[in-house]
Amino acid sequence: MTDAPLVLGIESSCDETGVGVVRGSTLLADAVASSVDEHARFGGVIPEVASRAHLEAMVPTIERACATAGVRLTDVDALAVTSGPGLAGALTVGVAAAKALALALGVPLYGVNHLAAHVAVDILEHGPLPEPSVALLASGGHSSLLFVTDVTADVRPLGQTIDDAAGEAFDKIARLLGLPFPGGPHVDRVAVDGDPAAVAFPRGLTARHDLERHRYDFSFSGLKTAVARWVERAEADGRTIPVADVAASFQEAVVDVLTRKAVAACVEHGAGHLLIGGGVAANSRLRALAEQRCLAAGIRLRVPRPGLCTDNGAMVAALGAQLVARGRPPSALDLVVDSSLPVTTVRVG
């Protein structure tokens, strides 16, 4: 594989500055600098804080990735960068950095879609992606079901959240329960000691009439309100909040809907493989339930390790390497940032 192209990928769509280096489908380095601690006291990502952090972290993270990979910048054959979707100001830092690298090194640059990169990253861990596959992406900013026939060219949205993203729901419920930001890992942790059946929280968009119009869509805002209502009632009644039970019951409601719809999408679209990505894919209950339901439906499940599920540069490099391998044309130097880039645009021309 030493003659496969060496691709460096840059990710800056939210609060992680990620720089990854891959050769073909081999991961050589995945350097990430996160500004998450700076956002914690605000209970959410502050775009300007994230953008400033990207600027400070960019060159050191590029250098760290090259050092880890044992390559020099001048060895790089192609560059890839997230050009959307994400926070416009944050994306701008990464795109400008990638263009400067492309200019300095005289190599092609691929502006890529963040969601498609979340799918492509699994190639680094589990090899070529069987096509077609269904991908479930659940993070702080997205909750989507995608039908992937070619990760470099043909990714179609089957459904997405119509309000909050799954990770956002985890973060909001964590705050309600007095857990730190980002809340997903904490809810996951405390839920281990709770009873997932303690409270029957609603499963959004699963009623028969919703399934007609929103077969593969998600909704987590009603669930969030239901949990808030339950907690406030309990407080008003002077009861201590059974944090573990509430966390487990909330988590169960989220992962039940995510996995149920994902497996249905595989079955109904004849996809033999389900891939799960995004920060919420780190959730232990999501992994367990997905495994159980995929096994029952005869579907092969692919979930990258948690470090590759959250935002990182390796996923961008991985998609870039696929674009190079399939001979797709690079982007122009006047490539734009598109904060609401549709998932159907894998590569920005």
């Binding site: 209970g43 060159v59 250098e63 910048l73 400008a96 492309a102 200019l103 406030e232 940032v337």
Partner: protein, 225 residues
């Protein structure tokens, strides 16, 4: 010496090459919202115009503002990454100093640019004699136009065009030119500054002058009414 200068602190995206003697190529495109799109092509264009190769660049000079944050960062990150990839030093220059460089005449004057939100970025300068570099004596600051201590001094830059009642009449130039930043930096690097305090190069740290807008969340909103 082949110095590449760039600035994205205002509405104009500008790049220039300076060979130690003079500016040999310069480009400017005005579009306040498309810095990230326009800067790299502008750099490629000045190299092309001058018939020089990127590997010949010896120094990078970047206007570090003050200016609107997202645009400003495009220039700074571009300069830093180019510097790292080409293995050459990166020098920062206050963008208002670049405008001052282009102001003709002697005596005291101000430079004011658009800081949005009904404010301006400004600094006060003094030039001793014709041909001498201007010396920054105050600033940069961010203020409401009415709070700038004009004191009869002429004001140049977009800030004066935008707020003529407080700062006008506006004198030229209105925007920073990368060529002016390059000339200023070339002089400073050559150590031939003749002003009492020659304009100093600084780090490539952006001059934000404002903190990010962010307020810690208040008490939890109740859903039960």
């Amino acid at each position: 010496m082949l110095l590449l200068a760039l600035d994205t602190s205002g509405a104009t995206v500008t790049a220039a090459l300076h060979d130690g003697t003079s500016v040999i190529a310069e480009r400017a495109v005005t579009n306040a919202r498309r810095h990230a799109e326009l800067l790299a092509p502008a750099i490629a264009a000045v190299l092309d115009d001058a018939g020089r190769d990127r590997t010949e660049i010896t120094d990078i000079v970047v206007g570090v503002g003050p200016g609107p944050f997202t645009g400003l960062r495009v220039g700074v990150v571009t300069a830093r990454v180019l510097g790292a990839a080409l293995g050459v030093p990166v020098h920062g220059v206050c963008s208002l100093d670049g405008i001052a460089e282009d102001v003709s005449g002697t005596g005291d004057f101000l430079v004011a640019t658009d800081a949005r939100r009904r404010e301006v970025y400004w600094a006060a300068y003094h030039r001793d004699a014709d041909g001498a570099p201007p010396e920054r004596r105050d600033g940069p600051h961010v203020s409401r136009p009415a709070e700038v201590p004009v004191a009869g001094r002429p004001v140049t830059g977009r800030g004066a065009t935008l707020y003529p009642d407080d700062l006008g009449p506006a004198g030229e130039p209105f925007d920073v030119r990368a060529g002016a930043l390059a000339a200023l930096a070339a002089r400073s690097l050559a150590g031939s500054g003749t002003a009492p305090t020659p304009v100093t190069l600084c780090s490539s740290e952006p001059m934000y002058l404002r903190r990010p807008d962010a307020t810690p969340p208040g008490a939890r909103k109740r859903v039960l009414t």
